[in-house]
């Protein structure tokens, strides 16, 4: 008798819990949670705070993958941002891309103008690659023209006035990135 009542109680409790869960959740709700975790996990390391925290001594001469290990300060949507010391063009950061990535619908040129800039955050020099983004009409936002290390047109590999949309499907210039590829030696 007691055993039956106990079994009924468990049965009743289980049914209420199951109905409660069914009422309070949708069948595809787990997808939302999983999606949130995936996107959140991917975006979190891109935040400037995380990047600054991740800052560490990068051995000189080694490659620096974009967005890792380089202490940052300043606004990538402003001409004064340290990586733009030799830039001449529109900032991809203002055009739907970033200082490291092209806006959607454009192609990054593999041929690029490379120089060095001084990083105020750690007082070191970094090798910066100004890869242009190509294939859409000029962006027209945030025109910056800083020319540290720029040489005349007759030294084309060190000149930033020429169109660096080379090796791309289209030679139409859209905007410029400023990608860190190494830390300098000094």
């Amino acid at each position: 008798m007691n055993l039956t009542r106990f079994a009924d109680a468990i049965d009743h409790w289980t049914e209420r819990r199951a109905r409660g869960i069914a009422r309070g959740s949708s069948r595809r709700g787990w997808l939302k949670t999983l999606g949130g975790a995936l996107v959140g996990g991917a975006v979190l390391p891109l935040l400037p705070v995380a990047r600054a925290q991740a800052a560490s001594g990068v051995p000189a001469g080694t490659s620096v993958p974009a967005g890792t290990g380089v202490p940052e300060e300043g606004d990538p949507e402003s001409c004064g941002y340290w990586r733009y010391c030799a830039i001449d063009g529109f900032l991809c950061s203002c055009c739907g891309g970033s200082e490291n990535a092209c806006p959607p619908g454009t192609e990054m040129s593999p041929i690029t103008w490379i120089g060095t800039c001084h990083n105020p955050a750690d007082g070191k020099s970094y090798v910066v690659s100004y890869n242009d983004c190509c294939g859409r009409t000029p962006c027209g936002q945030c025109l910056c023209n800083r020319n540290e290390g720029d040489l005349p047109m007759y030294v084309p590999q060190k000149n930033n006035d020429i169109n660096w949309c080379l090796g791309t499907q289209s030679a139409v210039y859209h905007c410029s990135t400023a990608i860190i590829i190494a830390q300098g030696l000094d």
Binding site: A60, G61, T62, P110, I111, T112, W113, I114, G115, T116, V127, S129, V155, Q157, K158, L166, G167, I181, A182, G184, L185
Partner: protein
């Protein structure tokens, strides 16, 4: 006993050769980035009209005139590097991206040698390059 001495001597020479030329690889790599990589790409692969150096450029040292050619091309001769830095960059680059194509008796460039070659830069690169490429093709039986 004499053969043992010969063996030891041979081993000594082999280990000295394995060490390769003395250069600062970090400095050479940065100089490659700043002076070459923009067009030749990070791995020397080339694209479009830019010739492929990766797994090829060492071949030039196998044919007469090729050794001077690599210094006389505009990218080398006009680079904003002194003779020692250019020699270092070339030696590093050859071993880094085209070691398998180098001749067995590869001698690293010296600063004095580089200075001598770059004093006579090429005005028509292709006129010199094409015969060299043909000689290289004959070497490999193509």
């Amino acid at each position: 006993m004499r053969s043992l001495a010969c063996l030891l001597l041979a081993l000594g020479i082999a280990s000295a050769a394995a060490e390769g030329p003395a250069f600062n690889a970090d400095r050479a790599r940065i100089n490659y980035m700043l002076n070459c990589q923009g067009c030749h790409l990070p791995d020397g692969g080339g694209v479009g009209d830019i010739p492929q150096m990766k797994n090829f450029v060492g071949n030039f040292l196998k044919v007469p005139g090729g050794r001077a050619f690599l210094v006389q091309v505009p990218g080398s001769a006009n680079a904003a590097l002194d003779d020692a830095a250019l020699a270092e960059l070339l030696n590093w680059m050859l071993l880094e991206i085209s070691a398998a194509q180098l001749p067995e008796d590869f001698e690293p460039y010296t600063a004095a040698e580089v200075g001598q070659y770059r004093a006579a830069p090429l005005s028509d690169v292709n006129a010199v390059r094409l015969p060299l490429i043909q000689k290289i093709a004959l070497l490999s039986g193509n």
